[in-house]
């Protein structure tokens, strides 16, 4: 019963739309404008220079290094989060002793800000005074303390693990939501059909969880791609830019070296990459999902 003409829904959308356009739209335009200008150290625009900033960015080896690391960072953290969160969600969806406690603990990393997590981890990973080395040595796992953040490769790996750790709560919640909406009788039918628990996971849980996995991937990619605090607080992209990803390199350029034009260009490139990924992903993966779920009722 279409009792309302097209105008009313638009009116309901408007306030929110205006706020978002105003608060987010203006800075994006400002950013675009800045990226096409020559900018002084302190953000004063010195006149139009077309795509010089972009040219400078593309000729900068550190940009390409950061881009590569950003890809590694995003893929590893997002995949890692998914691979761990799915079994965790399946477990938390099942009834067992202490489930309530387990759920709260798994959600804890969400309760503390990223910056604080990074500060605490940096304090714990400190070579000599850090408690991580102390604990590992007490347990006899190691004899010599490891300098976790000394060398780029190891530091980057540790940062990616922490990136996964803090993304698990959000992803697990999405999966828990998905799991609890799955049709229970299909599982019983599959037991009768001769499915082992692994068959159930492969042929029923996974396919039916696809929409939730896709949503988790898109959102996680967006959040992880733009995540500054962990790497910045722990290694500031160092040592020797070995752990710089686009967002930390951009932050360093803008606020330490005062190259605001170049930084704006990078942020636009980042937005472009992210937009491209999301559009392709939504079109390719989530489209074919739409028609299987079509025609739900009689």
């Amino acid at each position: 019963m279409k009792s309302l003409n097209g105008f009313k829904p638009l009116a309901m959308i408007l306030p929110g739309l205006l706020l978002a356009m105003f608060i987010i739209g203006y800075p994006v335009l400002d950013l675009a404008n800045t990226s096409l200008q020559e900018v002084s150290r302190f953000g004063q625009l010195r006149g139009f220079t077309g795509f010089d900033n972009f040219a400078e960015v593309f000729s900068d080896p550190l940009f390409w290094g950061s881009l590569k690391r950003t890809a590694i960072w995003t893929v590893t953290v997002v995949l890692g989060t998914l691979v761990i969160s799915l079994p965790i969600a399946i477990i938390l969806n099942d009834d067992f002793y202490g489930r309530g406690v387990a759920r709260v603990i798994i959600m804890l990393p969400w309760a503390i800000s990223l910056t604080m997590t990074a500060v605490v981890w940096r304090w714990a990973l400190n070579g000599r005074a850090g408690l991580l080395n102390a604990t590992l040595m007490d347990m006899g796992i190691m004899t010599e303390p490891i300098e976790w953040l000394a060398e780029a490769q190891l530091a980057f790996t540790v940062e990616m693990m922490i990136g996964i750790l803090v993304s698990i709560p959000f992803t697990t919640t999405i999966f828990l939501g998905g799991l609890s909406s799955l049709p229970q009788d299909s599982y019983e039918a599959s037991m009768v059909d001769g499915a082992t628990r692994w068959d159930q996971f492969r042929y029923i849980t996974l396919p039916l969880m696809k929409p939730f996995i896709n949503i988790a991937i898109v959102l996680n990619v967006i959040y992880v791609f733009n995540s500054l605090p962990i790497i910045w607080v722990m290694t500031e992209g160092g040592p020797a830019n070995g752990t710089d990803i686009l967002v930390t390199y951009l932050y360093k350029l803008a606020f330490r070296f005062g190259q605001l034009g170049k930084a704006s260009a990078i942020s636009l490139i980042m937005f472009g990459v992210l937009l491209l990924f999301t559009v392709i992903y939504v079109v390719l993966v989530m489209r074919d999902e739409k028609d299987t779920a079509a025609g739900e009722d009689e």
Binding site: D185, S186, E188, M191, V192, G194, Y203, G295
Partner: protein, 356 residues
């Protein structure tokens, strides 16, 4: 094929016992129907046979093997669920062939089996569709197809027709029965609909509150119900019950109702004099008595169903229902007299409800 033996099986949820020592033997190729009001434990019993519920006591044997602790997939049984339990994300073809795919059967065999079942259930045009795009009836047939393809030793049906409209239910009933006659697979069918039980079963098990009331062929149960519950449960419209005292008079016998009405009963009955009894007479066994004979009754409500007329009368202070094939012009309030063949009336002991 295989028989299914249930040896005083019990089931309790915590302290609540829902099935009290039930024993049933389903012979090979037999079609046994578990019938009873909702909550009587019939579905629980079926799920215990399927292995979807743990067994608290007693044994269940399929063929000659005790299956209490065997997983559903290893019991070689197939099940049709009440709301079909089809895999929403798979095509009809994959739904039906899933059990074979799990057992890693070659593609050709799966195709052949699924086609064969689709033929029987004329599902061929829908094989590539997803369950969401089918009607209730079609989905119900796919659920059956899935069981067929499984060609298990035992078929289990959990009220498969309850979600269908009345018309379709009748059609599917005959289809399932025809299928059984053709495949002869041992089947256990659960329903709360006594007409389904009567029409489909080789043998019926009437259950109530976790206990077996009676087991037997449909007509055997219909004609000589072991107790009040079975008598009242089978038959639609259900049997009339009138309380009174049993009296022997000379070589005849009758039941004296509280309001003085006398109901003629067979003298051969084993009831003792002055025993509190309940007389049961099926609506279709009542007929208009001749002048001066039968028991007085006043017409209350007349319900023509087309095929016959269901007449509700006031008799011996109770509401009694009578069914006539002929179209008598009854009018509410009219005084009539009803009679019955002596061998058609049943007597039950008032306190125990057992048949006398």
């Amino acid at each position: 094929m295989a028989s299914v033996k249930i040896r005083n099986v019990e089931k309790n949820y915590g302290s609540l016992r829902v099935i009290h020592g039930v024993s049933i033997d389903v012979e090979d190729h037999e079609f046994v129907v578990l019938v009873g009001p909702s909550g009587c434990g019939k579905s629980t019993l079926l799920r215990m046979i399927a292995g979807l519920e743990t067994i608290s006591g007693g044994d269940i044997m399929i063929g000659d093997k005790v299956v209490n602790d065997i997983a559903p997939r290893d019991r070689d049984i197939a099940m049709v669920f009440q709301n079909y339990a089809l895999y929403p994300h798979m095509s009809i073809f994959d739904n039906m062939g899933f059990s074979l795919k799990l057992r890693k059967r070659p593609r050709s065999e799966i195709e052949e089996k699924v086609m064969e079942a689709a033929d029987i259930l004329n599902l061929k045009p829908y094989l590539e569709r997803s369950p969401g795009q089918l009607s209730g009836g079609q989905r119900q047939r796919v659920a059956m197809g899935r069981a067929l393809v499984r060609d298990a030793r035992v078929f289990l049906f959990d009220e498969p027709l309850s979600n269908l409209d009345a018309k379709l239910r009748v059609v599917m009933r005959t289809e399932i029965k025809a299928l059984h006659q053709r495949l002869q697979t041992t089947s256990v069918y659960v329903t709360h609909d006594q007409i389904e039980a009567m029409t489909m079963a080789d043998r019926i098990v009437v259950m109530n509150a976790g206990r077996v009331e009676q087991v037997g062929a449909p007509l055997e149960l219909y004609d000589s119900p072991a107790n009040l519950f079975v008598a009242g449960f089978l038959g639609s419209p259900s049997m009339n019950f009138i309380k009174g005292r049993f009296r022997r008079a000379g070589d005849g016998a009758h039941v004296l109702c509280d309001d003085g009405t006398v109901l003629p009963v067979p003298a051969t009955s084993g009831a003792t004099d002055d025993q509190q009894v309940v007389a049961g007479i099926r609506p279709e066994h009542l007929r208009l008595a001749g002048e001066g004979a039968g028991v007085a009754a006043t017409v209350d409500v007349v319900e023509p169903t087309g095929a016959n007329i269901e007449l509700f009368v006031e008799l011996a202070g109770e509401r009694v229902c009578a069914v006539f094939r002929e179209r008598h012009p009854f009018r509410p309030g009219e005084k009539i007299a009803l009679g019955w063949e002596l061998d058609k009336i049943h007597l039950f002991d008032a306190s125990s409800g057992h048949r006398i």
